[in-house]
C-alpha cells in the first residue's frame, strides 16, 4: 500500500508526541543534569564534568566494578532465560491444540501468569519455594537435596530462572502460536504429498513463517529480562550478598536507597544507551526482513 506524503499528519501525532515527550524527554533531561553535578546536600549542586562517567566506565573503581558486575550478571541472566524460553515456547506452540474447547482453555490458562502483578509473581514463588512452607522447597529438601534460595546463590539463581520461565514462556508460546496459525493448510498438504518428514515440515514451513514473531519474542524477552526488577527484588532482594543484584536493582539501590544522584544518573544514562542501541539493531533487522519479504511477495 503506497502512502501519500502529507506533513499535516503531524497534527494527528502531536498529542502522542507531547505526552511521551513529557514523560520521556523531560525526566531524561533531569537525569542528564544530575549526571554532571555533585552535591554537598542542602540542594547545593556544583559542576562535576564527566567524572561520574569516568568512574562508572572504569572497572577498577568502586562504582565501575559494581556496574560491570551487575551488567555481566544481567547479560548472563538474559542469555540463560532466552536459551530456555525460546525453544520451550516453540515446543509449546507446536503442541497447542488446534480446535475444540481445549483451545480456549489452554489460551486462558497460558495467559494467566502474564497478567499477575510482578510483585505477586515474586510472592507466589516465595511461598512456593520456601523450605518450610512451600511445596517446591519442601519437596526438594525431602528428596535429600540441600535447597535454600535465600542462603545459596546457585539456588537463588535457579529459582529466579525457573520463575522467569514460568512467568514469560507463555508470551513466546502465544506469539509462535499466532505465527503458526497464519500458515495456510495448503502448505501442509503439499508437504504431505511430497512425503516430507515432521522435521522437514518444521524446518522449511513452520520455522520460516515464525521468523518475524520469533524476532519480536527475542527482542521483548531480552529487553524485559534486561530491566527485570520487581520479581527478584521480592524473591531474594538481590541476595544472597549481591548474587542476584541485576542492573535495575542496583540502580534503584543507588538512586532511591543511597540517594547518590550523580552516580545513579550516570548509570541511568549508560543503561539507557545500551537499551537504545540493542533496540535500534533489532528494529533495523526487523524492517529489513519486512522489506525483503515484500520484495519476494511482489
Amino acid at each position: 500500500m503506497t502512502k501519500t506524503v502529507n506533513n499535516r499528519a503531524w497534527l494527528l501525532v502531536l498529542p502522542v508526541f507531547a505526552v511521551v515527550a513529557f514523560s520521556a524527554v523531560l525526566p531524561l533531561m533531569t537525569v542528564v543534569n544530575y549526571s554532571v553535578q555533585d552535591t554537598f546536600g542542602n540542594n547545593q549542586f556544583f559542576w562535576n564534568g564527566v567524572a561520574w562517567f569516568q568512574d562508572l566506565l572504569d572497572p577498577s573503581k568502586e562504582l565501575g566494578g559494581r556496574f560491570f558486575e551487575a551488567l555481566w550478571r544481567n547479560l548472563l541472566f538474559s542469555a540463560i532465560i532466552l536459551a530456555i524460553e525460546i525453544p520451550l515456547g516453540i515446543a509449546v506452540a507446536l503442541a497447542m491444540p488446534r480446535e475444540g474447547w481445549t483451545v480456549a482453555v489452554s489460551l486462558v490458562l497460558m495467559a494467566l501468569p502474564l497478567l499477575i502483578p510482578w510483585n505477586v509473581v515474586g510472592t507466589i514463588w516465595q511461598v512456593f519455594a520456601r523450605g518450610d512452607i512451600g511445596l517446591l522447597g519442601w519437596g526438594i529438601n525431602r528428596l535429600g537435596m540441600d535447597y535454600n534460595y535465600t542462603g545459596d546463590s546457585f539456588d537463588a539463581w535457579a529459582t529466579i530462572v525457573v520463575m522467569d520461565v514460568w512467568h514469560w514462556t507463555s508470551l513466546v508460546a502465544l506469539l509462535c502460536y499466532a505465527g503458526l496459525k497464519s500458515i495456510p493448510d495448503a502448505y501442509y498438504q503439499a508437504a504431505r504429498i511430497d512425503g516430507a518428514s515432521r522435521w522437514a515440515v518444521f524446518r522449511t514451513i513452520q520455522l520460516p513463517k515464525m521468523r518475524r514473531v520469533l524476532l519480536i519474542a527475542v527482542l521483548l524477552r531480552f529487553m524485559d529480562s534486561f530491566m527485570i526488577y520487581t520479581e527478584p527484588f521480592v524473591l531474594t532482594g538481590g541476595g544472597p550478598g549481591n548474587a542476584t543484584t541485576f542492573l535495575s536493582i542496583d540502580l534503584v539501590k543507588l538512586a532511591l536507597g543511597q540517594f547518590d544522584l550523580g552516580k545513579a544518573a550516570a548509570m541511568s544514562l549508560v543503561y539507557n544507551l545500551i537499551i537504545l542501541v540493542v533496540c535500534w539493531v533489532f528494529y533495523t533487522v526487523m524492517t529489513h526482513t519486512d522489506a525483503s519479504r515484500e520484495r519476494v511477495e511482489a
Binding site: P27, T30, A95, W166, Q189, A255, I275, W280
Partner: protein, 294 residues
C-alpha cells in the same frame, strides 16, 4: 486441517512405515503434543494452586505442618481484606489508575496510529522508532526523575501521576498495535467516505472506529495488562492516598512475623481481574498476537 503435520514424529513414521497396520498402533491413544501441553499447564498451575491453598488455611496450619489441601478451610483472610479500607482501598486505587491510563493511551494513540498507517510525513520513521524505544526503557531509570517531576507539578500521590507515568510505555504500545490493525483496512473506505461528504472526525468515529473495534479491544487489553502488573513506578509515585494494592501487600510483614495467609489471599485477589479480562478477550488474544505486535 492436515493430519500428518500435527502428528508427533514417531506417529508420522509409524504411518508411513505401515499404512495397513492396526490403527491402534499407528495412532496411539495419547499423542506427544498432549503430554507436552498437559505437563506445561501443570507447571503453570502448580504455584497458583499452592497460593490458593495457602490463602484458605489458618496461619497456625501454615506454620505447623505442610498440607496439600486446607484441613480447616477459613475465609478469615479474605474477610479481613474486604472489611479493612486500607486493604480494599488498594484495589480501588490500582484499578483507578489502570482505567485512566487505558482510556488515555487509547484515545491519544488512535489519531497517531491513523497518521502512521495512512501518511508519510517528515521524520515519520524516526518518530516511530523513538516511540518504540520508550516501550523498552527501563522503569528504574525513570523512577527518580518521575518522583521529582510529579512532586514539582503537584500530582504526586494521585492516580493521575501513575496513569501519566505508565503512558511512557503504554502509548507507544497502543500506537504500534493500532497501526497494524488500521493498515489492514483498505484506503478506498477513507476515500469513499470523503466523497460521501463525511468530515474527518465524523468518518473516524462513525465508520473507521467500528471497523477496527477488535484492534481497539486488543490494544486496550495490553494497556490494561502492562499498567496492572507494573509496580516500581506505581510504588515510587504514591505514598498514602493512591497507594496501589501491590504496595499495600508489604504490610503483611509485622512484628510477629509474616502473615502468610493474608499475603496469599491478597495475591489471589490480584490475579482475579487479570483472569476476568483474559476470559472476555480470549478470542482476540491470538488475533492480537498474530500481528506480532505486543
Amino acid at each position: 486441517m492436515s493430519d500428518t503435520a500435527l502428528l508427533g514424529p514417531q506417529e508420522a513414521q509409524a504411518r508411513t512405515a505401515s499404512v495397513t497396520a492396526n490403527k491402534a498402533i499407528a495412532r496411539p491413544w495419547v499423542s506427544g503434543s498432549t503430554v507436552v501441553m498437559v505437563l506445561y499447564l501443570l507447571f503453570l498451575m502448580l504455584p497458583i494452586y499452592w497460593l490458593i491453598n495457602m490463602s484458605l488455611k489458618t496461619n497456625l496450619e501454615i506454620s505447623s505442618s505442610l498440607t496439600l489441601w486446607p484441613r480447616q478451610i477459613t475465609f478469615e483472610h479474605y474477610r479481613k481484606i474486604f472489611t479493612d479500607p486500607s486493604w480494599y482501598g488498594g484495589y480501588i486505587n490500582s484499578l483507578t489508575y489502570v482505567v485512566i491510563n487505558t482510556v488515555l493511551s487509547i484515545s491519544l494513540a488512535l489519531p497517531a496510529a491513523y497518521a502512521f498507517s495512512r501518511y508519510r510525513f517528515l521524520g515519520d520513521k524516526h518518530l516511530f522508532f523513538w516511540l518504540l524505544s520508550n516501550r523498552m526503557a527501563p522503569p528504574a531509570v525513570f523512577a527518580l526523575p518521575f518522583f521529582n517531576l510529579y512532586s514539582a507539578i503537584g500530582l504526586f500521590d494521585t492516580p493521575w501521576a501513575v496513569a501519566l507515568a505508565h503512558c511512557l510505555f503504554n502509548v507507544p504500545l497502543a500506537v504500534w498495535i493500532l497501526e497494524g490493525f488500521m493498515s489492514g483496512v483498505p484506503r478506498e473506505i477513507d476515500e469513499t467516505a470523503a466523497i460521501d461528504g463525511y468530515s474527518f472526525p465524523r468518518f473516524f468515529i462513525k465508520i473507521f472506529m467500528p471497523l477496527i473495534a477488535s484492534g481497539i479491544g486488543v490494544a486496550a487489553f495490553f494497556c490494561f495488562m502492562f499498567s496492572w502488573v507494573e509496580l516500581l513506578l506505581a510504588r515510587t509515585l504514591t505514598t498514602v492516598n493512591a497507594k496501589p494494592i501491590a504496595a499495600t501487600m508489604t504490610r503483611t510483614v509485622s512484628a510477629s512475623g509474616m502473615d502468610w495467609g493474608l499475603l496469599a489471599a491478597a495475591g489471589v485477589l490480584t490475579i482475579l481481574p487479570g483472569a476476568l479480562v483474559i476470559w472476555f478477550v480470549r478470542n482476540y488474544i491470538a488475533k492480537g498476537f498474530a500481528l506480532g505486535r505486543v
